[in-house]
């Protein structure tokens, strides 16, 4: 996703001189090419995220479209008030880009794990929140954001995620993508959990003969209420998957829509509990510890379906 992001941004910035990339002294090996090719559109602000968000707003209010880049919580939580008061209140074209969503940098420890960011950023007015599910979605999200649609938070994984979509996609801001059709239940996934959702759905099909619809909810804010209501009405069982705390994240956003929809639905959130991760290990290891690997997800889905088997 990181590679898809920087490649697309470089391509767009070469055509549109308003586009700028600011980094908080992070992005070794990622941003160097951009900096070399477009020196007037690149600033390494230094290790100063509050300043990065404030300077980005100043640049944006003077006509620029500014991407701020750092990892995990640094470009959003360290400077949350600058994002809120400066970028969002003024509807400035500031796009905070974070790589290392969830536990992508798991082995670096708690400071480098972003598990509450969706919950926190979801509450900020005027801010769009996009967590692409694969490199294809990332490139199209960048394409959209670089046009200057106001403040946004772009939540990315790291490098090397597989392309989940088998075919070309037509990515639309605020519109979920149906990755797999299905009628027995719907898996709504965001960001890095999309590939897990697809793999789990395929296993359910082969092992249990169940057809799970998979929706990529790449735009978490504003969320696609219509797609959620449609899935609830048609499949009656909704499960959300996110590499994020279940407190306040995608699961909460979907639950809000379902609770107000009046549609009788069985619902399950799969994600991290709202705790600090103390286990040491890489992304796959930590996800497995918390039941977010494919096998654990399939097991939970099977149990969920068994529990509610008689209700259709």
């Amino acid at each position: 996703m990181r590679t898809a992001f920087i490649n697309k941004l470089t391509e767009l910035a070469e055509k549109d001189r308003r586009i700028m990339l600011l980094v908080g002294d992070l992005g070794f090996g990622v941003v160097v090419d951009f900096a070399k090719r477009l020196p007037d559109q690149f600033i390494n602000i230094g290790v100063a995220e509050q300043n990065m968000a404030g300077v980005a707003t100043g640049l944006a209010l003077a006509g620029k479209i500014v991407f701020t880049y750092s990892i995990a919580n640094f470009p959003i939580l360290r400077c949350l008030e600058q994002i809120r008061n400066d970028a969002c209140y003024h509807k400035a074209n500031v796009i905070a880009v974070s790589v290392g969503a969830g536990v992508a940098y798991g082995s670096l420890g708690m400071t480098h794990q972003a598990l509450e960011d969706i919950a926190i950023m979801r509450a900020v007015p005027n801010l769009s929140l996009i967590a692409p599910g694969d490199p294809l979605e990332t490139a199209q999200a960048v394409d959209y954001l670089a046009q200057g649609h106001g403040p946004a938070y772009l939540r990315l994984g790291r490098a090397g995620e597989p392309t989940v979509h088998k075919n070309p996609i037509s990515w639309q801001f605020g519109r979920a993508i149906e990755v797999l059709p299905g009628n027995d239940l719907t898996l709504i996934a965001t960001g890095t959990m999309l590939q897990t959702a697809v793999a789990a759905a395929e296993k359910l099909q082969t092992q249990n003969g169940l057809s799970a619809r998979v929706l990529s909810m790449h735009t978490v804010k504003p969320i696609d209420e219509e797609a959620i209501r449609k899935a609830a009405a048609e499949t009656r069982r909704i499960v959300t998957l996110e590499e994020h705390s279940v407190a306040g994240g995608l699961g909460s956003a979907v639950a809000e829509v379902l609770a107000e929809s009046g549609i009788n639905t069985r619902f399950l959130r799969i994600g991290f509990p709202p705790v600090f991760v103390h286990e040491v290990g890489n992304q796959d290891y930590i996800k497995k510890c918390y039941g977010l690997d494919v096998d654990s997800v399939v097991e939970r889905l099977t149990g969920f379906l068994r529990l509610h088997a008689q209700e259709r």
Binding site: Q50, G54, V55, G58, L59, A62, E81, N85, Y89, H90
Partner: protein, 256 residues
Amino acid sequence: MISRARSSHIGGNFSMAEIVAVLYDEILNISPKHLDAPDRDRFILSKGHAAAAYYSILALKGFFPMDWLDTFYLNGGHLAGHATRSVPGVEVSSGSLGHGLPMAVGMAKAAKIDQRPYRVFALLSDGECQEGSVWEAAMLAAHHRLDNLTVIVDYNKIQALGQTREICDLEPFAEKWNAFGWTVRQVDGHSVDELYGALSVLPFTSEKPSCVIAHTVKGKGVSFMEDKLLWHYRTPVGEEFDAAMSELCSLPHLNR
């Protein structure tokens, strides 16, 4: 305004009155007729709690009707207690300290990139300079040689709960700005001539940002408010209001 609104911060409004007067009378290239002119100078009131003085000068300069001032702080009014961008002439909203200078740096940098002639001014409070983000931005401004950027510090030496030197001393203050790569001039912030003298010769040094430390008195203009911590928050009402108005109305420059 402040008395009617039962609001605070009169001391910090009075301490910067001459500063905004000189800026809007003589220095800034901003016109209410062309609010969005791309080459207008940008003024950022970073000490957003001093909105009453800011709104007053904007109204006097014709950015919005004078009677809006009567609605300051009030239910359904036009003017919130801190500077708000929805008000014509207000460049950015402020109120949380330490936000103005980073935004000013971004605007000044944009002017350099785009080779535009506009200048950027940020007015900071002294207590605000305890925010780390001020110094993050100060460092970056010098590094990028933003000589189109000027900071003015309203150095009235009193912050919310006491004197700056007793709470977290800023001194040696001018040396700090110097060390961060700025050229500093210190003036009497209530002397229109001294303020004009400094602000009309910007930048002080080519390729360096400029800092004007304006030595001021909190509550300036009303004898019983001057240099008194109480008037960071206290609202003048009743006899205090009448006494203050009487003193202000007898100031010589108001009768010219």
